[in-house]
C-alpha cells in the first residue's frame, strides 16, 4: 500500500469515526485522558529517521515509535532556555510516562497506542512528515492547532501534554527552581496523632439501652 492511498484511508476512517463518534472510548490517566480509535492501528504513513533507532532497553512498555513520540514531545513541550528550570533531559520523563501507562488496562492501552499513532502520522497531511520529525516551532504549533480542533484532536493533544507535564513535574529535581516544598511532614517533624479516641455514646443510646 503506498503512502497516498494509506493517507486517504486513514483520513476517511478518521472522518467517518468522528461523524459517528465511535472513536470516543476513554480511560484517563493522570488528568487528561487516553485516546482511542475504535478499530485497529495503521502502519506509519512516512518513514522517519528515528525509525532506525531502537528505544532503550528500559522502555519495554512502549513501542519504538511511542518512545520516540514521547521523547520528541518532551523536547518541544518543556523548553527551559532562559529560565532556572531543569533541562528535561535530566529528568526521566519518558520513563515516568511509561510507568503511568503501565496502569492502564490492556484494552485502553491498545487504544491509546492507536491514538498516538494517529497523532504522529496526522502531521504528514499538513507538514509532509511525521510529528517526531517536525521542527520545534512547527511541533508546538501542531499541538496548539490540535488543542483547538475536533474532539479527538483536543483529546490527543491534551493526553500527550498531560502525560509529559506530569512526568516532568513529579520529579523532585524540578522542584527547587520553583520553590516547591514537596513532602514536608517528615521534614517538619510532624508528630503522628494516631487514632481518634472512641466517641462518647450518643444520648439516644441510653433510652435504647443497647450500648455495648
Amino acid at each position: 500500500m503506498n503512502s497516498q492511498f494509506q493517507a486517504r484511508r486513514v483520513a476517511a476512517f478518521w472522518q467517518r469515526g468522528m461523524a459517528r463518534r465511535r472513536f470516543l472510548k476513554w480511560g484517563l490517566t493522570g488528568a487528561a485522558g487516553v485516546a482511542a480509535v475504535a478499530v485497529g492501528g495503521f502502519a506509519v504513513l512516512r518513514q522517519s529517521p528515528l525509525d532506525s533507532q531502537s528505544a532503550p532497553d528500559w522502555a519495554n512498555g512502549l513501542s519504538d515509535t511511542e518512545y520516540h513520540l514521547f521523547d520528541r514531545a518532551r523536547q518541544v513541550l518543556l523548553p527551559v532556555a532562559g529560565t532556572r528550570l531543569l533541562n528535561s533531559d535530566q529528568v526521566p520523563v519518558v520513563r515516568n510516562v511509561q510507568r503511568t501507562l503501565s496502569y492502564l488496562d490492556p484494552t485502553t492501552r491498545k487504544e491509546l497506542g492507536t491514538g498516538l499513532g494517529l497523532f504522529d502520522n496526522a502531521a504528514v497531511f499538513s507538514h509532509g512528515c511525521r510529528f517526531v520529525d517536525l521542527e520545534d516551532e512547527a511541533a508546538r504549533a501542531f499541538f496548539d492547532r490540535w488543542g483547538e480542533g475536533s474532539v479527538i484532536q483536543r483529546t490527543l493533544a491534551s493526553v500527550i501534554k498531560q502525560l509529559v507535564y506530569s512526568a516532568y513535574w513529579q520529579d523532585a529535581a524540578t522542584w527547587p527552581a520553583v520553590d516547591f516544598d514537596g513532602p514536608v511532614s517528615e521534614k517538619w517533624g510532624l508528630a503522628y496523632l494516631g487514632n481518634a479516641p472512641l466517641p462518647e455514646a450518643p444520648a439516644s443510646d441510653s433510652s435504647r439501652g443497647s450500648q455495648a
Partner: protein, 512 residues
Amino acid sequence: MSEVKWQASGLNVHQASDVTQDRLNLDADVVIVGSGAGGAVSAYELARRGLNVVVLEAGPYVPSEQFTERFTDSLETLYQDHGGQTNSSGDLLVLQGACVGGSTVVNGCVCFRTPDFILQDWQRDFGLSELTEGELAPYFDEVEKNLAVHDNGEHEIARHGQIIRAGARQLGWSVKPLKRNIRQCGLTGHCLSGCKSERKQSMLVTYLPWAAAYGARIYSDTRVDRIVTEGGRAAGVEATITRHDGSVAASMTVTAPRVIVAAGAVQTPVLLLKSGLANRSGMVGKNFACHPSLYVPARYPQPVHPWRGAMLGVYVDEFLHPDKGGFVLEDGGAGLVELTMAAEPGTGEPFMDYMANAKYLAGLVTLIHDHNVGRIEWDGERKKIDYQLSDVDFPSMQRALKAAARLHLASGAQEVYVPASDRRIIRSEADIDPLVNSLANQPQHLRMVSYHPQGTCRMGADPDNSVVAANGETHDVPGLYVTDASLLPTSIIVNPQITVYALATRIARLMA
C-alpha cells in the same frame, strides 16, 4: 459483648499478604462492602451494638506512615483505577479513593451539612418526608463532634485563601471559612495525598478503628463479585482476594443475613448490576451526578505558594441557592502536578513560564448543582461512566467560571487561566464574557474533575422510580442496604461527606 479493644494507632486489617488458604468462608450478622464514609460509619454503629460485622474493601490497606505526600504516587496507590477513572469521553476525571478508608482518606476535609433547600426537594420530589432538617440535625451534630469538624481558624486560611477572601469582600460577596474534619492541622497542603500525620479525621483513624475496637473484622484487597440471595432475601456475598501483583490469593464467601453496599456511587451500582439485584425500577446506575468542578488558577503579582498551608480555607456562598446560580466557589491550594492539569496557557514557552511562576498562582474550585443525567453501566467486562455535562448545566458552569474570574480579578490577579483545551487567558473584566461565552459544551473542551459522584441508587418512597427506601433498604431485596452517596436523589451542590456520614448513621441505627 466482648471486651472493647481500641488501638491508639494503626488498624488491624486482614490483607491479601496474610492469606494462607485459597478459600475463606466467614459468617457474620452484617457484611459491608466498602470501607469509606458509608461503610465505616455503618460498621461502627452496628459493631458497637454487638453485631458481628465484616467489612470488605477492594483497595489496599495503606497505613498513614506510608503516605508519600507526592501526588502522582498517591494517585497510583490510593485512588480508583490508579487515578485514571474518567467518564466515557475522558474529559471528566472522577477521583475516588480506592483504599481502606475510601475517599475520606484523600479528600480535602471540607464539611457541609445538606442544604435545607435540597432536603425540601427530596421531600417534595421523592417522598422522603422523614428527611427533614430537624430529623437529621442530631446526626449531623454527632458526626461533626466525632470527627472534630470546626470552622477553619485564621491560621488554617492560607495565603491563597486570604487573598480570595479579600477579593470577595471587595465585591461584597458572602465569604466564610470552610468547616473541616481535622485535628491540629499540620498545614502541609497535601490533603489529596492522604494525611501522613493522621490529623485529617478520615475513616482510617476514626470510625474504622472504632469499629475494630468493637470487633468488626476488616479485609482489604477483597473485591466483592456478587451479592448472594436466598428466597429473595440478602444472604451474603462472594468475593475475591487479590494480591498487589494481580494474582488471586483466595476466594471468599461471607454468609450474612444483611448486606450493606457502600462501595461508592460508581462501584455500588456496578455490583448491583453484576448481581442482577434491586433493579425493578431500572434506576440502578442511572441518575449519576458528580458536581463537575473546575480548578481555575490565576497569577498574582506577589508570591502565593499555593501548595503552602491548609489546602482549603474559605468559600463563597453568595451563589449557593439555585435561585442565585446554584454554585459554590472554594479557594483551593495545589501542588505542581495538579497545576499542570488545570490550565492551558499555551504550548512550550508559555506553559513553562506559567509553571516557572507557579508560586504566584492561586486557585478557585467551582462546584455546580448538576442534574442527574449520567449513568453507570457494566458491559460484562468493564464499567462505563456515561456522563457529559448537560446543556442545562453548561450555563451554570459558565456562570461559576465567570464568577471565579471576577473574584480573581477583584483579588488582584493579573491573569486568570480558563481551564479549557485551548488557550484562554482573562486579564480584565472585559475579557470574561467573550472568553467564557465562546466555550462550547463539547467533550474535551473543559478540564473537569469530579470528587463527588452520587445518585446512582437513589432513595425515594416510590419503588418504581427509586432503588432504596428512606431507611436505606433496597425496595426489592429485604436485607440489602445502601449507605453511600449513591443514595442521594439529587446532587447537593456542596461536598457530600457529612451527608453520607449522617445518613449512614441513621440507616445503621434503624437497622440495629
